[in-house]
């Protein structure tokens, strides 16, 4: 295992030295990370990074199989167009987490920002997943086209809501699971509440189980059957938009 001190290292130099190290050593600790962008971009399978500090925007962009574990908060656009692999954040994340994500998993211990999962997509077995322990900002799953978002809503203080307005606006694929029931006005007209099935319960069990284990929480009190599930009203809402006769 190799340790890189990132203090005062420019993001390009930091990312090049990570590229250099992974040629021989697949496990790297990064310490003193302050805002360097694109950490983990494009990194392939079997690479493991432990990141201490506050990694910058677009962490894990286009990531292709690596595992990143962050001891601190993520900033904006974590997992931008990520292809596969796993991101674990022992903290919270900013806006546009999982932006256009194509595959892989992101687990966030705490809260996530605005526009999380914006334009996530899926294709055959490639199904991206975002699990967050706290609450999300507005526009959760905006233009979502595939994959799954699970929000646990743990430790909300009084008056706090698990999600903001405009949830699922423009959604045309994928699913959003929220712990509990939310008012209808918060959802875009393209998202609709659907019944939760046994398959959903198994899916939730699996990913919440991983969350529990990773962040060492006891979540036995969570009632999976009281989660609500939202999906797209219409899988192809714009099919007539450009070819009306």
């Amino acid at each position: 295992m190799k340790t890189i001190d990132a203090l005062n290292v420019y993001y390009r130099d930091l990312n090049s030295s990570i590229d250099e190290v992974v040629k021989t050593d697949k496990t790297i600790n990064l310490k003193n990370v302050f805002g360097q962008r694109y950490i983990g971009r494009g990194l392939p399978e079997n690479v493991k990074l432990k990141i201490y500090g506050t990694p910058g925007n677009d962490m894990a962009a286009y990531m292709d199989g690596a595992e990143l574990e962050i001891f601190g908060n993520g900033q904006d656009a974590v997992g931008n167009t990520m292809n596969c692999g796993r991101v674990i954040v022992h903290g919270s994340c900013g806006d546009t987490l999982g932006y256009a994500m194509r595959g892989g998993e992101i687990y966030v211990e705490g809260d996530v920002g605005y526009r999380v999962g914006i334009h996530m997509k899926e294709y055959k077995e490639m199904k991206p997943i975002i699990v967050a322990g706290g609450k999300a900002g507005e526009f959760l799953g905006e233009y979502m086209a595939g994959g799954a978002i699970i929000l646990l809503g743990l430790n909300l203080s009084k008056g706090e809501n698990i999600t903001g307005r405009f949830c699922g606006t423009g959604m045309h694929g994928g699913v959003i699971y929220l712990n509990g029931n939310e008012d209808k006005y918060k959802f875009g007209k393209e998202a609709v509440k659907v019944d939760i099935t046994n398959e959903d319960i198994l899916f939730l069990k699996k990913h919440i189980g991983f969350y529990e284990k990773t962040f060492q929480k006891d979540l036995n009190h969570l009632k999976l059957e009281s989660f609500s599930k939202y999906a797209a009203v219409n899988k192809n809402p714009y099919s007539n938009m450009y070819c009306t006769y």
Binding site: Y11, V33, F34, G35, R37, G53, T54, P55, G56, N57, N73, Q75, D76, S92, G94, D95, D111, G113, Y114, G137, E138, F139, G164, R165, F166, Y185
Partner: protein
């Protein structure tokens, strides 16, 4: 050269602000370190700072910071200023040579107070008097730009990366209880010294990341009250909106925030009857002061610092607190680099202000 407004400027940017609510002053190194961390959010075409509490020895005088293109406009302007103001002290603003900071104008500073309080027979207070003459000079004197006009505060800005501009103006030698900083990313403009942020009027300073799509509606609105948008950039109009709402119309700052980042009509419908009435009147009376488009701004004034996002949070903003200090920045790392283990870190919601006032000040 085409100046701002003659070209369109889509921009990304970096913003950062620190306030010590007990008014303890600290030097400019911290804010430079914070804004420098976000270097790649700017492109070297604009950087600037606002510093509050830096001129205690002249705290009752207006500090005019002025860019001049040449000596002849400087002489004309000084003649004009001395007709209407007593100049207690005048001199160049000290600078250091920084290789990347080029084409600097003449940069002068004057500590002044108005000679009288009448304009065309109207008796007005000295704030109004001073602001009218600042607007007049910026509008009518070619090659002259007053870029700071407050009391016991000043802005320092220019073309360059913000950390270089901070070095150029020797901000490590100033002490302030509140600092804000901006790194600019105009992609389609020659960039000129006056166009950098902050934009100021009297004690107001605004730094801004984003674009104001309601600019023309807002501009027409403030120009009805005697302001003149001389730069045609969106940020300038925000400064005048707050000056108008809070200084001239005496609206409490929290309501002024509801004016510029008004709640949606359907959100208002879900509020209590009383609040509905209030919010509806705000939206009706000040419809043209609603700021639309993506923005995160930091506003400085004599009472403290306010950070605000547009209603649907199209720009990033993070806040933190530690002890007496409140921090805001575009990125969390820009706070953590100067603040070890903050007591609290949070992301404000869209339209939800971070209000950090000096002790004893009222909202």
């Amino acid at each position: 050269m085409l100046k701002e407004g003659e070209l369109r400027i889509p921009s990304g940017c970096a913003i950062s602000g620190i306030i010590d609510k007990e008014s303890k002053r600290f030097c400019g190194e911290e804010i430079i370190k914070s804004i420098a961390l976000m270097h790649d959010r700017s492109n070297g075409l604009g950087g600037g700072f606002a510093a509050y509490g830096i001129y205690p020895q002249y705290k009752d005088l207006y500090a005019l910071h002025i860019f001049y293109d040449n000596l002849s406009v400087k002489m004309q302007t000084e003649d004009f200023i001395s007709k209407y103001f007593e100049i207690e002290s005048a001199g160049t603003i000290p600078t250091r040579s920084v290789p990347s900071v080029k084409n600097k104008p003449l940069i002068w500073r004057y500590f002044v107070h108005p000679k009288n309080y009448t304009v065309k027979g109207d008796i007005i207070d000295d704030d109004e008097f001073t602001s009218r003459y600042v607007i007049k000079i910026n509008k009518e004197f070619k090659g002259v730009y007053i870029f700071s006009s407050g009391k016991n505060m000043g802005t320092f800005k220019g073309v360059g990366y913000p950390e270089d501009i901070g070095e150029f103006f020797m901000l490590d030698t100033y002490e302030a209880y509140m600092w804000t900083a901006h790194g600019r990313f105009p992609t389609n403009t020659p960039g000129w010294w006056g166009g950098a942020h902050p934009f100021t009027m009297l004690n107001w300073s605004v730094i801004h990341n984003g674009e104001i799509s309601s600019y023309d509606a807002n501009r027409r609105f403030v120009e009805m009250y005697g302001y003149k948008c001389t730069l045609q950039t969106d940020t300038e109009v925000i400064t005048y909106l707050f000056d108008l709402l809070v200084r001239k119309h005496n609206i409490p700052i929290e309501k002024a925030i509801k004016v510029v980042a008004a709640p949606f009509w359907d959100d208002i419908e879900r509020e209590s009857k009383e609040l509905q009435n209030e919010l509806k009147s705000i939206r009706s009376v000040y419809a043209s002061a609603l700021i639309n488009g993506p923005f995160s701004i930091i506003l400085g004034y004599e009472k403290g610092m306010i950070a605000l996002n547009d209603r649907i949070k199209l720009r990033s903003l993070v806040a933190a607190e530690k002890g007496n200090r409140t921090y805001v920045a575009s990125e969390e790392s820009a706070i953590r680099i100067i603040c070890d283990s903050p007591d609290r870190v949070w992301s404000p919601k869209g339209g939800e202000p971070v209000i950090a006032l000096l002790e004893g000040e009222q909202k």
